[in-house]
Amino acid sequence: MKAKSAKKLLSVALAMTMLAGVLSGCGSDGGDAKDDAKTEAPADEPADDAADKADEPADEPADDAADAPADDIAYPEKGISVICPWGAGGGTDACLRAFCEAMGKDLGVALTVDNQTGGGGILGHQAIADAEPDGYTIGMITFELATYKKLGTSELTWEDYDPLCRVNTDAATVTVNKEWADANSITDLASYIEYCKAHPGEVQMGGSSNASVWHIAGGYLMQETGIDIQMITYEEGAATAVQNAASGFIQGVTVSLAEARSFIESGHLVCLGVMDEERNESFPDVPTCKEEGYDITYFTQRGMAIPKDVDPAIKAKLEAACAKAIEDPDFVEFMKNNGQAISYLDAAGYTEFLQQSAEDVANAMDALGL
């Protein structure tokens, strides 16, 4: 290849690569995340009408809504898109799909789950906050929302949403490797705490990824009990942490019962206490930390939310659908099989909870040095 054309080729190609990067960056989340998500949402099927109305005054979500009387609005008229910030097949996704099916029964239309993953949930959460407030795009928000601002990866907080209801909470636990526990005469939570106090910085517990709920639960545990343990992060997820604990590479995990289930049942791991108000139905023998003398509760949460400024009549209908769905027998059975606990809070209650939780999380993150 001639030197001249090689040079020309190289410079053109480099320019192209940069151009591609810049253009795609401008086109999507790089420059202005809000703008992008706004044009992203109308691209979803049900909200397509809203795209045309994007230029019109924003206080008219759907033409019909303004005409009909407040408690008998023509909503929903078509399918609703439900954004899930996490991947298909995961815990949040599974729970959401089941809940959507139940909601659909009451609303009479299909609720389709739209997985918008990435950035540890940021992209999906952002999409929900930026969606058209016409009631045709709603979403599920999760615990991680409370961590973004503190981590500095996003400015999002619970205040960017209009919460509808809380659906599920899964409590963290103190679960340890049985062999290790036996070798060190650890039989319950109290003896575990004692051991940790006697050996500061030695005990290693696993959570899942950095700043995930289980990781922070570990920090919370440290804060409330005054022990000094080392939290090891597992970006691949809780499953790897659980396996490492069962094999003895680390001493234990703070993940939920559902995630440690198979090894607890086989005896590799033993759960010393679940950080919840009441015992878990599927594990009636596991005491709560409260019972063991330590008043600590910590859980991940998942709930439904809509962007701000949705018509109150539409919101009311959605809230009613949520209340019905949470009691739907198919949904209840699904959650039971899945090992996930239903813990309902209505819109007002959820809002309060989110506010409190945001504070708690910030404190716990301080303890971890995040």
Binding site: M1, S5, L9, V12, A13, M16, L19, A20, L23, S24, G27, T39, E40, P42, A43, D44, E45, P46, D48, D49, A51, K78, G79, S81, T112, D114
Partner: protein, 89 residues
């Protein structure tokens, strides 16, 4: 001769960049059809009927598979009415 072919390669890259830039506004099918037509013309195809049919049907088909069968939302831009139409099926 070599330079001409390299130039052609660069054009394809430019088209790719254009695709990314216009994706949001024009939607997948239109963008895909456009770059498909241009590339075919560029590499010497002149059978207009085949060009148009393939350029339109293939993206349309792919969109259908992804949207209806796999329930993946694809931006359609001005053609969003198709999404609504098919969504009701």
């Amino acid at each position: 001769m070599k330079d001409k072919s390299v130039l052609a390669g660069v054009v394809v890259i430019l088209l790719g960049v254009a695709f990314v830039a216009l994706f949001k506004t024009l939607g997948y099918v239109i963008c895909a059809a456009l770059i498909s037509m241009v590339i075919m013309f560029l590499i010497g195809k002149r059978n207009w009927l085949q060009m148009i049919l393939v350029s339109i049907l293939v993206p349309l088909g792919m969109w259908f598979i992804f949207f209806k069968v796999l329930t993946v939302n694809i931006p359609m831009g001005p053609l969003s009415f198709l999404s609504d139409l098919v969504g009701k099926l």
